[in-house]
């Protein structure tokens, strides 16, 4: 789960990280109110859940009330990578002497939380990782001890010589680690962390992602979720025990198992078609699940054919076939459907489906070819 920058700033503040003040605004009128009698430099920043705001013109400095209002007028409603800007923050701008990067991630390889710092701040860290990986310093944190004082200082010394600054930065790293652990983050990033001319270190932008598997124990984080239309569909599917992701193609697929579902999408592409979605119905023959899955699938108006790909393991294909027949009886659609059953009791399952007149096949490749053909009718 992702949150907006303003939400990350609020979490940072709660844990005592040095973050300049900001006001969240949903309209130009609210911005106008926020910058009344403006006597300092502010920055108006689009709040969207995608990166690359700056380049898209979603971040603007303003010195006067009129300039701030004009900036907000330009940014609100702007489209950034398909996301419409509905909120901005007006934040106090600070003088910057130098920018740094600080991030914590779950590191698959080290099986740890890893602290990353770099003197190359303010740019996409992935770019630095590609071009100058040696400029990023990494430290895998032992979960049994946490980030110890001397370890935090060691990392801070990679960025600063002045011991006063080292201590300031080390404190920020440790606070960020506490936030990461206590909120079940998968990413907590300060980019940039800045040094001001009067030798203060501040966090002027924040990005946080959270572990979906841990949301059950993070009610405060869950309450921050702001999902768009596609994500709402994904969340709704998850509540029904399905895993759904919308794509751009026209061939809907319904599969049991995530790996097989990915392989099914790939196969459709391999034979010249375009998958409309990823949909994993898990391991059950429950007709209600199939009904729910079909409803979600067919709510996508781009879908012109459906490929159902089931490998029967413990779930027997004849049970799956019964579930399908019951489900398709309830749904009634004109969209052509091809069913592939393989594995345990596949023959019995295919025989049952024959009565329905649905095209049935026994291999994935045949199913993909058939679905593509049906989608072109």
């Amino acid at each position: 789960m992702k949150i907006h920058e303003y939400q990350a700033r609020e979490i940072f503040k709660k844990y005592g990280l040095p973050v300049p003040n900001h006001v969240l605004c949903h309209s130009v009128a609210e911005v106008k109110e926020a910058v009344k009698n403006l006597d300092r430099l502010v920055v108006v920043k689009a709040q969207v859940l995608v990166g690359g705001r700056g380049k898209a013109g979603g971040v603007k400095l303003a010195k006067t009330e009129a300039a701030a209002v004009a900036a907000a007028g330009q940014i609100l409603g702007m489209d950034i990578k398909g996301c419409q800007v509905e909120k901005v923050i007006v934040a106090d701008a600070v003088d910057i002497e130098k920018e740094y990067y600080v991030g914590l991630i779950n590191d698959r390889n080290a099986k740890s939380v890893t602290l990353m710092v770099s003197a190359e701040g303010g740019v996409e860290i992935e770019e630095v990782a590609q071009t100058n990986p040696e400029l990023i310093h990494r430290f895998p944190i032992n979960p049994q001890t946490g980030l110890l004082d001397f370890q935090a200082r060691d990392m801070a010394m990679k960025l600063f010589d002045d011991m006063k600054l080292v201590r300031q930065a080390a404190d920020i790293f440790q606070k960020l680690y506490r936030i990461f652990i206590e909120t079940d983050s998968t990413l907590a990033e300060i980019n940039p962390m800045v040094l001001t001319p009067d030798k203060q270190i501040l966090a002027i932008d924040g990005k946080m992602n959270f572990d979906d598997n841990a949301l059950y124990r993070q009610p405060e984080i869950l309450a921050m979720r702001e999902a768009d239309e596609d994500e709402l569909k994904e969340i709704d599917a998850k509540e029904k025990g399905l895993s759904y992701i919308k794509l751009d193609g026209n061939i809907g697929c319904m599969v049991n198992g995530a790996g097989l579902a990915m392989a099914t999408m790939d196969m459709i592409k391999l034979y010249g078609g375009n998958p409309a979605n990823f949909l994993d119905i898990g391991g059950s023959s429950n007709p209600q699940k199939v009904v729910d899955a079909m409803n979600i699938l067919l709510s996508d108006k781009n879908v012109q054919a459906v490929m159902i790909n089931i490998f029967g393991g413990i779930t027997r294909c004849d049970d799956v076939a019964r579930g399908l027949i019951e489900a398709l009886d309830t749904i009634k659609t004109d969209i052509p459907i091809v069913v592939r059953l393989s594995g345990t009791n596949a023959e019995e399952g295919l025989a049952l489906l024959e009565q329905t007149g649905l095209p049935t096949v026994s291999t994935m490749s045949e199913a993909a070819k058939k679905a593509i053909e049906l989608s072109k009718r």
Binding site: Q144, A258, G259, L260, M262, M364
Partner: protein, 293 residues
């Protein structure tokens, strides 16, 4: 031989009185796995399908000599169950539970290392040495004893491939589902080493997917250390970036973890990558024919 499990494996089922635990305990027993004990705090002294139930893993191990444990408890309690097994001296723990928080796995990793416990999963279908031991939720009837070692991040896709192998007359030594989570137990490198050293395994199939760089590491390891033929398949070539494809670990983040990079790495290591699962038996046959020349 085989790897990790065989007919001497003595299995404990943690969460044996739950719906899934009971169902799969029955199936594993039916397959011929030696299921010697179950645990369920508060239900010690009972018996499920003739299997004695204990309150604690420690008690179960001391009484029955169980050396392997499978975990069916709900995700929020999985990390605790894994550690209970580890502290009781279990050698190999298989965690089936799906949805375990990543930080729980990170917290228990150093303890497992310190206790010398091997872990498979979480969020995995388990493993099988055909005709000897089935430990997990895999459908036993599609497997056949033989010489192909297979490891995979997925469940049904594994069954799909195993079914094809079995139909092509290619039996399996041991098949391991390593699970779909980003932080998990035994992974490609450890298993590649085991397969390489297992006299019964003649060739290896690796089924990977998008997310992380474990496949790239496996490719580099194979080039250096594995002399047996290896064939790979990668799922998720059409997956959009930034979206979790069902498995918590199957995500392309900031351009890394793509199927393309992984396929390139395998190609560079001389490992053929199947375009679709049905190509795997043929690619294996070609590799094996070359190897025997």
């Amino acid at each position: 031989m085989s790897i990790l499990v065989n007919k001497d494996t003595k299995l404990l089922v943690q969460g044996i009185t739950g719906r899934d635990g009971q169902f799969h305990a029955a199936r594993m027993k039916e397959y011929g796995t030696r299921v010697v004990a179950g645990t369920s705090p508060g239900k010690g002294g009972a018996s499920v399908l003739g299997i004695p139930v204990f309150n604690t893993v420690d008690e179960a191990v001391k009484t029955t000599g169980a050396n392997t444990s499978i975990i069916f408890v709900p995700a929020p309690f999985a990390a605790d169950a894994i550690l209970e097994a580890s502290y009781a001296g279990i050698d190999l723990v298989i965690a089936i539970s799906e949805g375990v928080p990543i930080l729980d796995m990170i917290r228990i990793t150093p303890v497992l290392k310190q206790n010398g416990t091997k872990l498979i999963g979480p969020n995995c279908p388990g493993l099988i040495t055909p005709d000897e031991a089935l430990i997990g939720i895999l459908p036993g009837m599609i497997f056949k004893k033989g010489n192909i070692g297979l490891m995979s991040r997925s469940g049904t896709l594994t069954y799909e491939v195993v079914n094809m192998l079995t139909h092509s007359g290619m039996g399996q030594s041991t098949v391991v589902g390593i699970g779909g989570d980003p932080v998990a137990g035994l992974y490609y490198l450890e298993l590649l080493e085991m397969y390489q050293n297992d006299p019964e395994t003649e060739a290896i199939v690796l089924i990977g997917e998008i997310g992380g760089d474990a496949e790239e590491q496996a490719a580099a390891y194979i080039a250096k250390h594995v002399t047996k033929p290896v064939v790979a398949f990668i799922a998720g070539q059409t997956a959009p970036p930034g979206k979790r494809m069902g498995h918590a670990g199957a995500i392309i983040s900031s351009g890394s973890g793509t199927a393309e990079e992984k396929m390139k790495a395998f190609a560079a290591a001389g490992v053929p990558v199947a375009k679709e699962p049905s190509e795997i038996p043929q690619l294996l046959a070609e590799k094996l024919a070359k190897a025997s020349v």
